[in-house]
Subunit: 384 residues, 2 copies
C-alpha cells in the first residue's frame, strides 16, 4: 500500500528546483496543484533527472475535446488549428479549457533522465497512457500538416514524461496507428472487465451479467464489449445512434470472435441522450443491465444510462462529456439504487489487455480498421 | 429488478397530456430529457393524478450552488436574491446553471393526486429528498424574508413532487431545522456506510479499513464519519481546513458516542485543494486511506483525494463541486489504481440511517446544533 518515493525530491536542470515523480516541479500556476489541475505548466525541453523527453510525432485529441473545439469554431478547420496552438502555447499542455480533457501522443524518446523509472531509452517509439492534460508540451511546426478535421494531429515538438507518466512502447506486430487508437482507450475495456467479472450474474438466466454498452460501435465501446465478453458477460447489448453503426456492429458480431462468441448479442438503435428511448430499447433487448458502460462522447447521456441499469447495478462513465452533477442528481432524482463509477483511465495491465483483445479478435480489429480508414487525411501520414 | 409502472401514462390536469412517475410530462425543453437535465420545467400548480403539490416554507440551497452565487454576486445579498428569483422564474426550478446543483425544500403537503405512490396526505410536513434541480417550483413572495446570506431560504410558493420524488415526513422528535439539515445530506453517510462495510480491512492492523473524510467537521462530513464508524471503520481521519474546525471536531470526538468510540480518531488540518499537503497529512495520521470521502464544497479537491487513497481503495465524491474530468484524468495521470464513485444521493434507507445516527450520538448532534446556531438569521424563522 506504500508508494515509495512518491514525493522524492530531485535536482532540476539548473540544480535548484525540486522535482518529483508527479511533476509538481513543472506547475507554474496555481502553485501546489497537480499538473492535471494546473492552468499552466513549464514545458521547457531541459529534463529533470527523473523525466523523459519525447520528440512528438502525433497528438490524438480526446474525442469530447475535439468535438467541442470543432463546434465552437463553427467547423472551420483553420480556427480549430489556431485554437489548439493557442491552448498549447498559453498552457504548456493540450488541455481543452471547456471539457478539461486532453488526449494522448505518440513519439520517439529523445532523452531519458538517469532517475526515470519508466525503463525507456532514446529511440523507443512510444505512446503515452497519461492524458495530454498533464503532459508538458511544445509544438514547433505550427501544426502545418494537420487539416483540422480529425482528432489525429500530425505534429512536431517535444513533450515531457514524469516518473509516474505511464507510457507504452508501440508493439512491433501492429500498425502504429491501430496501436495508438487501442491504447488511447485501453482503460475502458480493463475497467469493464473488472466490473463485469465481479458483478453478480444476471437474475433471470444465471448466465452472467447483462452488460449494455452505449456507443458500442466506437473504439472504447467495442473494446469494452470485448472486455465484457472476456469477463463472462451473459447478454451484451450494444446501443448505437443510427442504422449505419448498427450495420457495422452486426457485421462484427456475426463474424464472431475466436472461441469467445459474438462481440455483442443484441444491437439496438437509440439516441443515448433520450433517457426513455434508450432505456426502453435496452429493456426490450434483455435489460435492464447489470452493468452499463457509457462510451458516447456527447453531453447528456447520464439519464439514459441510469434508467437502463437495474437496481443494484453499476454504471461506468467513460465519456469525458459526463457531468458529475447530472449523474449524481439524476440517480437521486429517480431513486436509482445503483453504483456509478468515474471511468479511471488507469487499471494495471490495461495496455496488455486491450492489445490482447485486438490481436485475438479479428472482427474487433476489422471494426477498428474500418474506423481508421474513415480518417484518410491522417491515416496517410508517413510517420505512422 | 423490474420497475413496474416506470413509464406508466396518466392523464394530465386537462386530461390531454401524458404523465409519468419520472415527471417527463413537466419537461418543456429540451424535449425528451429527464426533469433534472431540462432547461425549463412546467411548474403550474395543477397536479397530474400521480403528483403531489407542496406549499413551500423553506429552500435549502446546495452548498456549492450558494457559494457560486455568492461569489458571482460579489457577496451582495440583494444580487444573490435576485439571481435565485431569476433562475426559478426562467427555469421553473432552482437549478444553478453553473454548478448544475439545486438543494432541497421543506413544506406542507397541499394536495396529493389519487395515483401518487408517495403515501403523503394534505397537512403532512415534509422535506424532499430529491434535488431542487428537478423539482417544479414557483416562488410567490419574492423571497422577501431571506437575507441572501445563508443557504437556508425562507420562502412561500409551491412545488411539485412526482411519483418517484422521494420525500420524508419530518420526524416529531427533532427540530425541523435539524431534521432538514440531516436529511439534506443523508445520502453521504449511507453510501459511506455501504462502502466502508464492504471494504477490505486495513492492511496493518486488521482492525477495519482506514477512512479519511475531507471536510469532516461539516454536515455531510461529520455524518459520514459517524456512518463509517457504524460500519466498522478502523482508523477515521478527519481532515479540516483550519484550526477552528479542528477544535470543533476534536471536541465532538472527545465527547464520544454512545457505545461507538469517538467520531474520528485523528484530526488533521490541511487544505483539501493542495494534493501534496492533504495526502501527506493523511499519511502521517495513519493513511493512506482505504476509503476517502470528499465532503468539501469547493472545486479542486480531486487530486488530494486521489493521492490520499491507497492502491485498491475507493474515493467517494459527494461534493457537487467535483469535476468529472479532473477525477478521471487525475487518477490516470498518477497511475492510481483506485475506484472512484459518483456520490449517488439515493441509497435505500438513507433517511432512517442518518436520523438514527443523529439521535444516537449526542456529540454529532452538538456539532450540527452549533452549525445551525451559526446561521442565526434563518434559524429564527418562525415557521420552522
Amino acid at each position: 500500500m506504500t508508494r515509495p518515493q512518491l514525493f522524492a525530491p530531485a535536482s532540476g536542470p539548473e540544480g535548484t528546483s525540486p522535482g518529483s515523480l508527479l511533476g509538481l516541479h513543472r506547475v507554474l500556476e496555481p502553485a501546489g496543484v497537480l499538473p492535471q489541475a494546473a492552468r499552466r505548466l513549464d514545458a521547457r525541453p531541459e529534463i529533470w533527472p527523473d523525466e523523459v523527453r519525447v520528440r512528438v510525432t502525433r497528438l490524438n485529441l480526446d474525442a469530447a475535446s475535439f468535438r467541442q473545439l470543432s463546434e465552437a469554431s463553427g467547423g472551420d478547420p483553420d480556427a480549430v488549428r489556431a485554437a489548439v496552438l493557442d491552448i498549447v502555447a498559453s498552457r504548456g499542455k493540450m488541455q481543452n479549457p471547456v471539457t478539461g480533457s486532453g488526449g494522448m501522443l505518440t513519439g520517439v524518446v529523445e532523452a531519458a533522465g538517469p532517475g526515470s523509472p519508466l525503463g525507456l531509452a532514446p529511440g523507443d517509439r512510444i505512446a503515452t497512457l497519461v492524458s495530454l492534460s498533464l503532459t508538458p508540451l511544445v509544438i514547433t511546426d505550427g501544426l502545418a500538416r494537420w487539416d483540422g478535421r480529425s482528432e489525429q494531429v500530425p505534429c512536431d515538438g517535444h513533450a515531457i514524461l514524469f516518473g509516474r507518466s505511464i507510457a507504452a512502447v508501440l508493439p512491433a506486430d501492429l500498425p502504429a496507428e491501430l496501436a495508438l487508437a487501442v491504447l488511447d482507450v485501453c482503460g475502458a475495456p480493463a475497467l469493464t472487465y473488472r466490473v463485469t467479472a465481479s458483478s453478480p450474474a444476471g437474475p433471470a438466466t444465471g448466465a452472467g451479467p447483462v452488460v449494455a454498452i452505449l456507443g458500442a460501435a466506437g473504439k472504447s465501446g467495442s473494446l469494452s464489449a470485448a472486455g465484457a465478453r472476456a469477463a463472462g458477460a451473459g447478454t451484451i447489448i450494444g446501443v448505437v445512434p443510427h442504422e449505419a453503426e448498427a450495420r457495422l456492429l452486426r457485421a462484427a458480431s456475426a463474424a464472431g470472435q475466436s472461441g469467445a462468441g459474438p462481440l455483442v448479442d443484441e444491437v439496438v438503435v437509440a439516441d443515448a441522450r433520450d433517457p426513455v428511448a434508450v432505456s426502453e430499447a435496452v429493456r426490450r433487448a434483455g435489460g435492464p443491465a447489470d452493468v452499463t458502460v457509457v462510451c458516447v462522447d456527447v453531453p447528456g447521456c447520464e439519464g439514459g444510462a441510469i434508467l437502463s441499469t437495474a437496481a443494484g447495478g453499476t454504471v461506468i462513465f467513460f465519456s469525458m462529456a459526463t457531468s458529475f452533477a447530472a449523474a449524481a442528481l439524476g440517480a437521486e432524482g429517480v431513486a436509482a439504487d445503483i453504483t456509478m463509477l468515474v471511468g479511471n483511465g488507469y487499471v494495471p495491465g490495461h495496455a496488455e489487455l486491450a492489445l490482447g483483445l485486438i490481436r485475438a479478435q479479428p472482427a474487433l480489429r476489422a471494426l477498428f480498421d474500418r474506423r481508421l480508414e474513415a480518417e484518410p487525411a491522417n491515416a496517410a501520414e508517413p510517420e505512422e
